[in-house]
Amino acid sequence: MSDRLPRPEPRDAFKRALRAQLMAQAPTALARRETVWSLVALPQGSWLRPAFAVAAVFVLLVAGAGKAAADSLPGDLTFGLKTAAEELQLALALDDTTRLKVLSEDADHRLAELTRALTSRPEAAPTATAEYAAAVARFTAAVDELRGKPGTSEDKRTEAKDVVDAARQKHEAVLDELEKTAPEDAQQGLERARQEADKLRPSNTPDRLRTPEPTRAVPARTAEPTRASEPPRGGEPTRTPLPTRP
């Protein structure tokens, strides 16, 4: 065998015909196809592509976990995620009033979870009640802290009072409604929740949101005779005391 093989060449006619065919098909074959990658302007082979893909998967996972956490009840595995997100939101609050609003929203969430637990998952009710109590306690503690803080303006106190009033009215309305519809075995948990919600009442927080003033000889409001036809003073709804439960 010799040291080389013949080097065949393609026919010129073949080469010309194939070139013409390729040039005719090129406009269609080379037409740009829009892909996800071209939309995000990441070139082929860019190291950003895998990074982008990993980030996209991460976002999907977080979104999925976030959805699961949002639907969770106290005691569920994903409940920790929800409270972690709330803690983050609290940490990002820039001032005391915003912080108070966040805590109020957290208490709202716990109340919503308690409602769901009492109506659909009674076994989760004790944990949900404890979480609700803790959220209300934290909220009232923040109100106390704001009151005791030196230099708190009157505007801020008024704003904070509005937040507490709104929370109280909402919670009482929810609990009133729940009392009518909750099953008998949920009533005990509901009563405890009611006791926690009572901590938001002005009667239980007499000076919580008022600027301490020097004592003056002013007749006490409660000493005034109340008339049944008059609306409650201060716009505060009156609440019928609950009958004592065994």
Binding site: P10, F14, L22, A26, P27, R32
Partner: protein
Amino acid sequence: MGELPNSRSEAPVSSAEREEDAALARRAGRGEAEAFGVLYDRYVDQVYRYTFYRVRNEAEAEDVTSEVFMRALRAIPKYEPRQAFLAWLYRIARNAIIDRSRRQASRKQVSFEDALAHPNADQVVNPDEGLLAGSDATAVRRAMQQLTPLQQEILVLRYVEGFDTKTISKLVGKRDGTVRGIEFRALNALRALIPSREQL
């Protein structure tokens, strides 16, 4: 085996050519047909030679060459210049040849039933046979059909294109020593398959 007259110890393309190829491929990938045309002019002969010894006849070599460039045209937006353009074309050609042989194998299976119906079918004369019988290239090509695809590829790159072992090892993705071993066994097989070695 002495020094090859058409031996090329350097890479299939120089680094400057490689950069030029990459730039042309990028332009083609963006839709410039003429940039692809330049690449075609540059490599059509090499692709044809690569396929020539691995198929049965010139017509098939032309078919495969056409298929290679058609596939390259469609795939060029995905071409990554980390790989030399010629090596990329060789890879497309390798796949095209494998696909073709698979298709032919399945066709043979179908014609086996025909053979049962027509017992003398194997005696039908191949129209190319007489035409190409006297050609050295044809004899070698027929013998090479008996080799494995990798043996065929290495022999073509070594004895048709004249690349050295190091270059071939990069083109086929094998180590130097492996390429030498495959080449050695392929040559021995070829010597046994080609009756009149001295004529080659």
